[in-house]
């Protein structure tokens, strides 16, 4: 029985990917511009947004990360499909 996922799953995952990419860019930028207050504000804004998106995702589709970085559903389901390369 292969489980098919709703389009919201992909939408949410892409949104999370976009926000995380912005965080990567801002981190690299802030490494060389430690005093840029606007960039730090933007970084914190996106960090908060990323947390919210992760929480929203995990409530619907299960844990994103392991070893306590994500809550677990019942039963122990972190090894359910799809894996990142199966998305």
């Amino acid at each position: 029985m292969s489980r098919t996922l709703p389009p919201e799953y992909y939408e949410l995952l892409e949104e999370l990917q976009a926000v995380d990419f912005v965080l990567v860019e801002l981190t690299l930028y802030l490494d060389t511009h430690p005093n840029d207050y606007n960039a730090i504000q933007q970084f914190n804004h996106f960090a908060k947004q990323s947390k919210q998106l992760r929480k929203q995702y995990e409530e619907l589709y299960g844990p994103l990360m392991q070893y306590g970085k994500s809550y677990s559903g019942y039963p122990w389901n972190w090894d359910d499909a799809p894996w990142p390369w199966q998305v």
């Binding site: 892409e14 976009a18 860019e25 801002l26 511009h33 606007n38």
Partner: protein, 71 residues
């Protein structure tokens, strides 16, 4: 402004065993020309940034490979 890719014509020797490459190209992305990044530059939206591979349009490089193969 600057071009993203530049071309040059290598020297072609008379005894070259293989067919000569008349035009060769090399990439010159924007980061070569901008130097230390100024603060508060214009930014893409998150989705667009993900698509383009950079958060700032000034650094966007499509890495073009087409252009003058033969001259």
């Amino acid at each position: 402004m600057f071009t993203q890719v530049k071309y040059w014509n290598p020297y072609i020797g008379p005894f070259d065993p293989c067919p000569p490459m008349r035009v060769k190209s090399y990439q010159t992305p924007p980061n070569l020309y901008i130097g230390f990044q100024p603060p508060n530059m214009e930014q893409y939206s998150p989705r667009q940034a993900l698509h383009c591979g950079t958060l700032w349009p000034a650094f966007y490089s499509p890495y073009p490979s087409d252009g003058r193969e033969e001259e």
